[in-house]
Subunit: 378 residues, 2 copies
Amino acid sequence: MGAKPAGKRTDAEGSDEAGAERRLERLGRNIVDDIYNSKNPRFTTTTRSRSNTIYDKKGGFLRLGDATEDHTFINISQSKRFMQTMAIASKCHSFLEQNLHTSIRGLFYQLKYSLGDEVDENLFNEQTESNPLIEDLELTLGVRRESLNLNANRKGVLVGNMRVVDRFGEGAEMDMSKMGRSGWAIPSDVDNDIDFVDVKAKYVLVVEKDALWVRLNEDGFWKKENCILISTIGQAARGARRLIRKFADMGLPIYVFNDGDVWGWYIYWTIKTGSMNLAYIGKDIATPEARFLGVTISDLDRYEFLKSMTMKATEFDLKRAQEMLKYPWINQHKEWVDELKLVIKTRLKLEQDSLQGPRLTFVDDYIKEKINSKAYLP
Amino acid sequence: MGAKPAGKRTDAEGSDEAGAERRLERLGRNIVDDIYNSKNPRFTTTTRSRSNTIYDKKGGFLRLGDATEDHTFINISQSKRFMQTMAIASKCHSFLEQNLHTSIRGLFYQLKYSLGDEVDENLFNEQTESNPLIEDLELTLGVRRESLNLNANRKGVLVGNMRVVDRFGEGAEMDMSKMGRSGWAIPSDVDNDIDFVDVKAKYVLVVEKDALWVRLNEDGFWKKENCILISTIGQAARGARRLIRKFADMGLPIYVFNDGDVWGWYIYWTIKTGSMNLAYIGKDIATPEARFLGVTISDLDRYEFLKSMTMKATEFDLKRAQEMLKYPWINQHKEWVDELKLVIKTRLKLEQDSLQGPRLTFVDDYIKEKINSKAYLP
């Protein structure tokens, strides 16, 4: 009997790198046992399909359902994928043993080799073949790729009253209140060999655009307000999403400050409920506690100057606003229904940059007012 | 008589923020003098056109030629632009007085206001109107926008044996050898209120992809080799290009390690000779001393395993390779002509990630071998 999918484990192996190594070894042993017992080698994953992606109403995030699928070796349509998955598992095990990391592109190149003179074929020809098998493996083992020593693309910066203890290499302790104009670059892996300590902040402010983060950092906003100031620099990377989740686990309120348009909304909902693509690790990276500070079209009633700052919404904006009204995780909130309907009615959008219109530091006041008056969206 | 363009100045005003403030004030005074003397208010910029963009063969970079153009107020086709440019100059002066920075988008929003009830028009409606006028102003004043307190988008990371003294805000001193897995995020402005000190390195290695930077950082490559390790994370931002120029000014050799394809070449030549778009500040951000380590298609003769790592060049790759052969700054180098012709002949390309094929740390050996055997391209 092969390895079981993540949700059904009963063992006490950790999901960190050490746990990942043990789980990989157990997966291997189970496959070998299958062979010795004359069974068809097999492992089980959770099905990653649209129909098995559900919105967990109680938890408030997108996750996979209970449907699982078996992968077997003696099966004409599965044997190549099975072999390829084992090759990936073997490589990840060797990365863990060597204590070295790479990207999923680096992994692909380690697997892009000929199967030998008798078979005129490579193990892998395109990265599009290896990527879904990495997700299979993450689900089978119940660990995220970051603990298999596979780095994801990183993006995002942070500053605030806290320290980062990074045991990577020879180790480094960094004071997040002494990062100058730059801020700390949020890495891919924020779980292994890294700690976030002395977190002395009242809340976390997540800002869509780096330009606004730079503006707020210059004003010392994080210092005056005692918050942790993050920019996701557009769509949030896995590492940034995971780190936001970790701050929420520390009990810190999470406020998101984005554009009032399709991308701003999308970035917010990805942070809050997760995304279809990453529903397979939804619980670990979604932050349902997040709140949307703005900017919103309803802000036009609060701030007179904003009326000359609007842009025309595109057909794409309006179409997406209509679609969002159909999502149960959105239309359960009256405030969001009102906001989206207002966008559709006025055909307007607003950028967060426009808050610099009256004076550069107005953006600081806007954020404080929104938080203090609880004028945010759920 | 209005302000003169950059190249023709004879004054000793600095090009830093303090110098920029003085130059803005002089520009204003000159305009006022023109008015009092019943002259048509006027300022002069260097012409930013393809025909006035030249390759400076002696210097080895793209720059603007000597053609200038006058902008006058009493001129039906120029008066609006003139007024808009003065409004930008006035805003930049106020940013310098307040000691606050913003982005060119932030500047645009400060200028997106109605000209009053009698004129049913905004001063600016689109950022595409203000962007070229900022360049006019940079040329008229002879300062880059960073010294006008206008931030450009930033991108890029750095680690190495050196320190950054950032006098931004309350100031921060950061040890670039203690940045853990993250590295220091290279800011937009690497000239004002910032110093790069105790630079103890033999050379600078500039890496196209962040994933390879992360790989090399994990191996402690910069420590073992005593180099400064930078990733531009794709196309280099203004700040990263300027910083590379500054390291070259310190006498450090600059080696660039990119993909062996259209984008890798383009990123290299942008660092080395500058680009058409930024020819107006070419001298300040181009690094003609840079050398291209690879990867190259000629590497296939050096490393047997690379033969199974190649990708097919696209028609776009091949077309661009043909075009590059026509550029005088490229076809003056026999080594580049040979490489590009080899690409066209073999119809192959190579990614830097593929150097992880035999083992993850092979990339370290590759770089060392390329540098030690001087097997780089000019």
